[in-house]
Symmetry: C2
């Protein structure tokens, strides 16, 4: 939870609202939702294994920075968290990922077909929270959420399409990340502002701030996936490389002289640690380590400039500035 | 298109609105949406291969019966058709179906992972049509749509869960159908009424009417899947039986003395026509043919009684009565 930093104070209220949103419905779908959200183990026993809740906490903090109560942002906060989990459940099917937060992914537990249903349930339940709100900013907030999901789906489409390509450019990759990760974090921020009753321009700037932050977050994640400290991330070093994921450093290095050897190694069995070490070496020689760091910092700086342009005082937006810095300084 | 009967007159306006809803967006997702909706072949050449558009046409006819212009119902009509197609795209992945309307299903064309994305895109784009409407009844309409999708997802969950069970009861099966098929047809009717500005009680009665009709529709479909006329349906006779689908007649017969032989035959290779013929014979001996017919007619009668209770004149609701009769009299 450390990366939520100062935002973690919203967690108890948020958690209660999220539980309330899942208080009734089809028992099996609710049970699996509790598993995915980390509240329960597969056997129904209590657990504490969920994600960091970055998006909803950000949504609430933005509302607070805009002078409203964080409680006003709850329908949006719950909506973005459920939409985020919907995307994780479907992504894990699409990417054939076996583990999330160290536990079997939903489709591993219930099969692909039912996991598609589970994702659709989480998505629908999430949207309802916002659609049923009568707050003045709710319709704008819902429109932002739909826009974000369309961009998220298009981003996921690109991500899958990139798997079979070895000529993806930096610009294409960042465009994919803007959709897949930036759009929803941006919507979380924009929705918080809209539900706080902020004006259209301030809402849009905060949305853009969140989107840049989301891109910085993912680029930094790609950095950690190649050079993260094993003791901090809890994953093996170079976990993305071991899984042969086409992250930003790999995309960058493939466009250089190292590309040919790299493509060759990416087709080799993932278990060989010598191959993994050689890949990381190639990435570094290609300058991908520095460029990835540079891009993460540059998006974070862009975000900070956008935040400064919102007209919010440093006092009101203190938590948002701090959150922005944590995004690219975290080591896991 | 024959089963749309008198409602088909709304088709040109509806088609234009549906095309307008898909005028912009990610090019690949739009291209595949046009394929799924039957406007294009896989190679992008023009086609005329879509579904019957029953839900949107019903939505428009209900609005008209309530004294509004069918045009007022367009945001809802487009929404329900896109939501319907979202469910078909995901269902085809889940059921491993290879063909729909005689053409390869989406996942056959683009793989499961991208077909999940395509479904999510169609769903989101559909919801947006209604969410962006400023009509007075739009919020009620959207709430009905969300409720319907949750029930549809729960129905699909049950349908998949039933595949591995041989003790499904008639009541359980009908409950599944009410969710999987009834909910969205009910929502189509209720949304048409809501967008026409009808009062809450009339909206709810028309929603219930549509739901009963949806159940009658599916039960009759199950009938045709066992005893449909090959020349009319364009499928081989007993197409559901050949595919070893657990339709209502099968569920009914499994609970009788024929159950054991039936279960045995359902595990046998689907290609053997002698097995298919024997299965149909067992269904008839178990009385499943009559009971299925009886249930379809009984839901259709219930629907007609609900329609009579709405306060709409026979003149205004003439198209709705005719549509209701066509549902259980169609031979394909």
């Amino acid at each position: 939870m450390s990366s939520a930093g100062p935002l973690a104070r919203h967690l108890p209220i948020f958690d209660a609202a999220l539980r309330a949103a899942l208080a009734d419905g089809p028992p099996e779908l609710l049970r699996l939702s509790r598993y995915v959200l980390g509240w329960e183990s597969a056997d129904g026993s209590p657990a504490a294994a969920g994600g960091k809740r970055l998006r909803p906490l950000l949504c609430m903090e933005v509302a607070s920075a805009c002078g409203a109560s964080p409680v006003d942002a709850l329908p949006g906060a719950v909506a973005v968290e459920l939409v985020h989990n919907f995307s994780l459940v479907h992504d894990d099917i699409q990417d054939r990922d076996l583990l999330r937060h160290g536990r079997p992914t939903a489709w591993q537990l219930i099969g692909e077909a039912q996991a598609i249903n589970l994702g659709n349930f989480l998505y629908t339940r999430g949207l309802r929270q916002l659609a049923e709100s009568r707050a003045p900013g709710a319709q704008l907030a819902l429109a932002m959420l739909f826009e974000a999901v369309e961009r998220m789906v298009a981003g996921q489409w690109l991500d899958l399409a990139f798997e079979s390509r070895s000529d993806v450019t930096e610009a294409e990759y960042l465009d994919m990340v803007a959709g897949k990760t930036g759009a929803l974090l941006g919507a979380a921020a924009g929705i918080g502002a809209a539900l706080a009753g902020a004006g259209r321009e301030q809402v849009e700037r905060l949305r853009q701030w969140g989107e840049r932050l989301g891109i910085a977050f993912q680029v930094h994640d790609d950095y950690l996936g190649a050079w993260g400290d094993v003791s901090a991330t809890g994953k093996s070093t170079s976990s993305d490389i071991v899984r042969r994921k086409k992250t930003l450093p790999v995309v960058l290095a493939m466009a250089t002289g190292a590309g040919e050897e790299l493509r060759e190694l990416y087709r080799s069995p993932a278990e060989d640690p010598a191959h993994t070490a050689r890949i990381v070496q190639l990435l570094e020689r290609a300058g991908a380590r520095e460029r990835t760091r540079e891009l993460a910092n540059s998006f974070a700086r862009e975000a900070e400039a956008l935040l400064a342009s919102t007209g919010l005082t440093a006092g009101a937006a203190g938590g948002l500035y701090e959150f922005g810095r944590l995004i690219v300084e975290r080591d896991r």
